[in-house]
């Protein structure tokens, strides 16, 4: 038995599998003690399988764990008081945050408004930042040596001010770490662990080997800030599992799309791990079913998350992501969130027309139809008015919806100002939000250099299948897949992860000098870095009991042309540069990637090429994800029919009686023509006219437009 858990802000999802058997469970997340919600989900699963929780854990061979709770620690500012020690003259690097930090993590609309620019409360206040007289240049040469007595004095000052953790981030420390190491030595001498306990001392060069003093400092600060969270809460959970008889490792899902044990996990690597597990699950499924290009869409109450997965490509990584409000340096799988969800509020203004979102009614007060105090018209209200949601069966009947309230809200906010009927207004709200989601997908895909029409779309989350036909039609996408276990999809995705470590370092290496018409001849610097990474990877995996042969290595390079400011990341066709053939292969791979991504018009070979970052991905295949088999249908679709209701369809521009089917009863062999509503306790699929739904042997429901289905 393998157990995969995704702890979200509200729910703890659990997906357990063993040969041929799958069980899923949901429990409320217990923030004060994570193991409580976790064990509740385990008990549920144990109940389903007819065993006890302790027995289940005793038999488990793996526990994989994804959590986004670090986000809460950041938002609630529950981290320890930290001090930042930096180079004199650079004390304001973090407070200023490259000027733009006020807008990092905010929406596009907020980013336009200079008159409301406001930075978040800092994680390290200015008075807890000190500069040391020292300087190293870009080549690693010491220009101003660091004096030990100055370090001692400044450390004392900071401890007197209440520092309970130190981040040391000095200029160019990743080129030459001697000054940062000196600071740590002094701290350890002055305040041995008996005094400071587990207060962290984080050196920036150990956190990131990339240039950029702000992003490196911020990455280090976040790791220090979340240190206690991983240190305490996660080891508590591990200990709890141990006492209940679990003997295997606790593997943590990383936002890189891999996983590792607790001791090899930096706190930042756990941020957004849940959605990343979902994206990675989609990637595994895409590989299994041989889809080249997949876009995942997850529509919740307030946001719409988009992930792009393309076979063999590195374009779905963000290398300088923003975590909460802070820009950091680490490779993270790229998931874009836009403000479109069931709670998105619709309003009409003469100058802007009908707008839907990004403001959301959330779950409180919620859409007008919840009857919990919300009065604004939302997407959920529109779906109710259009007949796509049913007032009595929403969330398996757990929440009654009030259609009258929905109509009133839509009438007031949209129908009357636009001088149209409530039904027409509901249709317009849905049309605008579907197009907003389609636009967001379009932008993500086009920016990565692809055409949306070449993609297969995965749709999950509460609202995804409800709108999938809508945004797919806008984009010209012909095929949508609703995966099995959609409600616990992220937890299920964790089963497909590898063990993964990523090693990276800034390195300016000119491959082709356009002025002197020379190409790189001395490969030693390049190879030395790669060799160092390879032996580090073998050592790290060796500690976990893996042989060198088990470790798969993939070299990635950040490359740029001329004095270009951004870099383009490529998969290197070679691990080491042994000769001119290898160099040519790297250059050709770069030109090909560049052309594919930005178009042939942008390609420019003649202005020089340099490497800026060397990155090694070392992984060990641990994927256990297997697709279960479903029993074929034994009866026709009429047996699934639960009745019919009036739903709006564009073809008649009015409501039509539409069949409603039981989603959970659909089996392989069933073929349901649109228009139809497929309704389960957690999932509602709105199947448009000209679309057909089919269940495959593995529980994947595919929705296909007729032309493609033919």
């Amino acid at each position: 038995m393998e157990i995969n858990v995704d702890i979200g802000g509200t729910f703890t999802d659990c997906f357990a599998s063993t040969a041929g058997t799958v069980a899923t469970a949901k429990a409320l997340t217990t923030h004060h003690n994570l193991s409580q919600g976790f064990l509740e989900a385990i008990s549920d699963i144990a109940g389903q399988l007819g065993t006890s929780p302790d027995e289940l854990l005793g038999d488990a061979s793996a526990v994989r764990y994804a959590t986004t709770l670090g986000t809460n620690a950041l938002i609630e500012r529950t981290g320890p008081p930290l001090a930042l020690i930096t180079t004199s003259g650079y004390e304001d690097v973090v407070p200023i945050g490259r000027c733009r930090s006020w807008g990092d993590g905010k929406s596009g609309a907020e980013n336009r408004d200079l008159s409301r620019a406001e930075r978040p409360v800092p994680l390290v206040p200015r008075e807890m930042i000190v500069g040391l007289h020292e300087r190293i240049d870009h080549s690693g040469r010491v220009l101003v040596p660091l004096r030990e007595d100055e370090v001692r004095e400044r450390i004392q000052d900071l401890v007197d001010l209440g520092a309970r953790g130190f981040v040391v981030s000095l200029m160019w420390s990743f080129r030459n770490p001697e000054h940062e190491l000196l600071v740590r030595r002094v701290i350890e001498e002055e305040y041995p662990s008996s005094y400071l306990g587990r207060f962290p001392v984080i050196l920036s060069h150990e956190v990131s080997q990339r240039a950029g003093e702000y992003a490196r400092s911020m990455t280090s600060i976040l790791n220090a800030y979340l240190h206690r969270f991983t240190g305490d809460k996660l080891s508590e959970l591990r200990d709890e599992l141990r006492t209940r008889g679990y003997t295997g490792p606790l593997m943590l899902v990383h936002n890189t799309g891999g996983m590792a044990g607790l001791s090899r996990t930096a706190p930042l690597q756990t941020m957004h791990a849940g959605p990343v597990a979902g994206l990675f699950g989609a990637r595994r499924m895409a590989e299994t079913f041989d889809f080249e290009k997949v876009v995942t869409t997850d529509m919740g109450g307030t946001s719409f998350d988009i992930g792009v997965v393309v076979k063999g490509s590195v374009r779905f990584y963000e290398f300088n992501p923003v975590v909460d409000r802070w820009r950091v340096q680490m490779p993270m799988m790229d998931i874009k969130a836009v403000g479109a969800g069931g709670g998105s509020i619709a309003r009409y203004e003469e100058h802007a027309g009908l707008a839907v979102g990004p403001r959301s009614a959330g779950s409180t007060p919620g859409p007008a139809c919840y009857g919990t105090g919300g009065t604004e018209a939302t997407v959920t209200d529109a779906n109710l008015v259009l007949g796509y949601l049913d007032a009595d069966t929403y969330h398996g009947g757990a929440m009654k919806l009030d259609r009258r309230r929905a109509e009133r809200a839509i009438d007031r906010a949209v129908a009357r100002p636009m001088e149209i009927s409530v039904l027409e207004a509901a249709r317009a709200i849905r049309q605008v939000v579907d197009n907003n989601m389609a636009d967001a997908i379009f932008k993500e895909i086009v920016l990565k250099g692809y055409d949306p029409r070449d993609f297969v779309m995965f749709s999950y989350g509460g609202g995804g299948p409800l709108h999938a036909c809508g945004y797919a039609e806008v984009l010209g996408v012909q095929s949508v897949i609703v995966p099995p276990h959609a409600p616990v999809f992220s937890a299920a995705g964790a089963a497909g992860l590898d063990l993964l470590h990523i090693y990276e370092r800034s390195a300016h290496i000119v491959l082709f000098d356009p002025l002197f018409k020379t190409v790189l001849e001395d490969f030693d610097k390049f190879n030395a870095t790669v060799d160092e990474f390879v032996s580090q990877a073998q050592e790290d995996f060796g500690d976990d009991g893996f042989a060198a042969d088990d470790v798969e290595l993939q070299l990635e390079l950040d490359v740029r042309s001329g004095n270009q400011l951004y870099v383009t990341t490529i998969k290197s066709p070679v691990l080491r540069l042994e000769g001119r053939d290898d160099l040519a292969a790297v250059l050709e791979a770069y030109f090909a990637e560049y052309s594919d991504r930005f178009g042939e018009f942008a390609v420019i070979r003649e202005i020089g090429v340099s490497i800026e970052t060397i990155r090694l991905r070392a992984s060990v295949d641990q994927a256990r994800w297997g697709v279960g088999q479903r029993e074929p249908a034994t009866a026709g679709i009429e047996t699934l029919r639960r009745g019919e209701r009036e739903c709006y369809w564009e073809r008649s521009r009015s409501v039509e009686p539409t069949p409603v089917y039981d989603y959970d009863a659909i089996a392989p062999g069933h073929e349901i023509p649109g228009p139809a509503i497929l309704e389960g306790p957690d999932t509602t699929v709105v199947l448009y006219p000209e679309w057909t739904a089919r269940m495959d042997d593995h529980g994947f429901l595919s929705l296909e437009k007729e032309e493609a289905a033919a």
Binding site: C99, D113, H351, Q431, D439, L447
Partner: protein, 721 residues
Amino acid sequence: MNPATLTDAPTSTPETEAFFADLLQAQPVMYGPDPSIVGDHRLAPRTPSEEDALRRVTNDVDLVIASNRLEVICESAKEMLEQIGAAPGAKWGDLTCGLYTASGDLAVATSTGVVVFAVVASPIVKYIVKNWANEPTVGIRPGDLFYHNDAHYGGVHNADQTLFIPVFHEGRLLAWAGATIHEGENGANEPGGLSPSATSPYEEGLRISPMKVGENYTLRRDIVNLFQNHMRDPLLQLMDMRAKLAAAKRIEDRVLEVATEQGGDLVLATLRHQLERTEREVRRRLSEFPDGTYRGITFGDTTLLEDRMIKASCELVKTGDQLLVNMTGSAPAILDRAINAGLPLSKALVHNDLMNFFWADLPRNNGFVSAVDFVIPEGSIFNATKEVPVGLSMLSTMFLHTATHLAMTKMAFNRPGTTEITAPWYAMVQGLFYGGLNQWNMPVANLMTDINAMGGAAHRDRDGEHAAAPFFAALADYGEMEDRETELPLLGLWRKINKDNHGYGRQRGGASVECAYMVHGVPMFALGCMATGAKFPTIPGLFGGYGGPSTPVSVFRAESPEAVRKVMAERPDLVPDSAQQLHATKPFPGTYETRRPTQSAAFYGEGDLWVLQCGGGGGYGDPLDRDPEAVMQDMRDELLTDWVAQRLYHVVHDDELVVDPDATAAARAAERRDRLERGKPYDEFVAGWRRDEPPEGVPYLGSWSWEEPAPAERVTEVAEA
């Protein structure tokens, strides 16, 4: 000549008249800047195609959806351009991707970064449409590529270059796709494209009037070569021309998809609708402010080459939904200094204030400016003609921007609606520019992005943000010093907020930074700078708040690189981290100077050091009303000297920065009494204060009264050091 022949009935045949008409008008010597285009900020009239399209497409939801899609298309092209461009501007937001109507009005512009493009870019396309469509040697056909940088035809300044592609659908010109980047280097007489020492347009580098540079989506290599031939950085020129082509082409491809799937009429109608709707909404919002006349005045303190007080005068007359912006009384054009500004940019800076600080939610398109009326007298520094240099037009229009903000804020104060009432944001580019070979032997020439560190304005209810953004681009980035040191032969000795570098007040302005660059790793490197405000501060405060301080530059010339290195290696404690410390302790052997921040480029040797100071934002309200604890926190945060805390905030505290509340209250009461004693009745004040002419010894340009325009001037004296 017998005068009678002039008035007698014509003796010529119609054929003869046609001959003369052709001789005199059909073949201009040159298609120069067209005053009827650059002077007209209104939307072009609806074309018959637009009328038709608007008749056919009436569904408001379709228009909203199409306009969102067109915006996403331009946004994604802009983000791509940021990724593949090479000019510093490409990364820091000084670029735009836009979609123009077939007549040339910019209808969809990308929404972050520099917003003034929304106002200045349209005249360029209008020029192309007017002059080249029917010119047999040029013409406008699918796949044609047009290019431009000369600000006399439109645009911000010659450092910006734009590539345009006409978008044809089913044989009809539907729109124009454009991609603009602040490239910097353009072959002017100083590196980086913004030359303070240019005394005529002919010293301002390559001047590309709107022209065709390629066909079938292919740039003509001989033309690109001509451009490169003018530039100090030919690699940059080549790379970014291709980058702009790729971005504009991507816009064209995607717009054509929309047109093919949903009809060209939808695109036409959406663009026009967007423009007209924006204009209507600007007028509606204006109508909500109280009618009246509001004024703002600011001053620059340099012509670029010598000290002068240069007046920017902005009077707003607001009646109903009409706003008249009158710049009468501003300084005259200075015919041989590059600080003049053309009409499009002068109007654009007024709109920058509206777009960034008043109504950030509205689309940034040409409809915005079309809603406002202007009076900008001929001969004004804000109405430059073709023969006047304009390379540093931003500088004069920046203090015009501040004057506008003061007047607009007074207008909005009583009925702000959703407008945030703030003191002036710091509004001047403290621009260090550079040129030479870097430590990797690559040629580089451009402008430092530290200009983005402008201090934010104080608000009515909170302090300003430190070093938050340039006032003209909301989300700009000044980058990482380690990246800069990788690319340039410079060592950043410090980039840090210096004390007292913001406007004081009940709410203080946001502070900004000093940046110190030492030449490092090459024998010599050229550095220069441009800005005003060394002697007379650039921005005032609001409603009793203080303006930011003046911002001179410091220049250190090393006796030798070895001598500097020796001090750094042996006396780490002497290495300074502020200009104040540099001048006070003079730690390195060599010469120390303070200069005005407009300095022509010159070569500096290894170990030489430049310190430039970006300015802080204006304060809001009386400093005596500031919470004493907030003043102490400013001191703990190293924003403030004790001198200011005591003399201006009148806070009494001990060495541990603990406030003595009673002593502070007493000190503040005493200061209020002193003020009353210093005060005079208004008429008495006016009688004592008013002068009929500028004070002797203050070099001054501009009218001395509101009504009287000032004559154009040529500065002929030898420039001061």
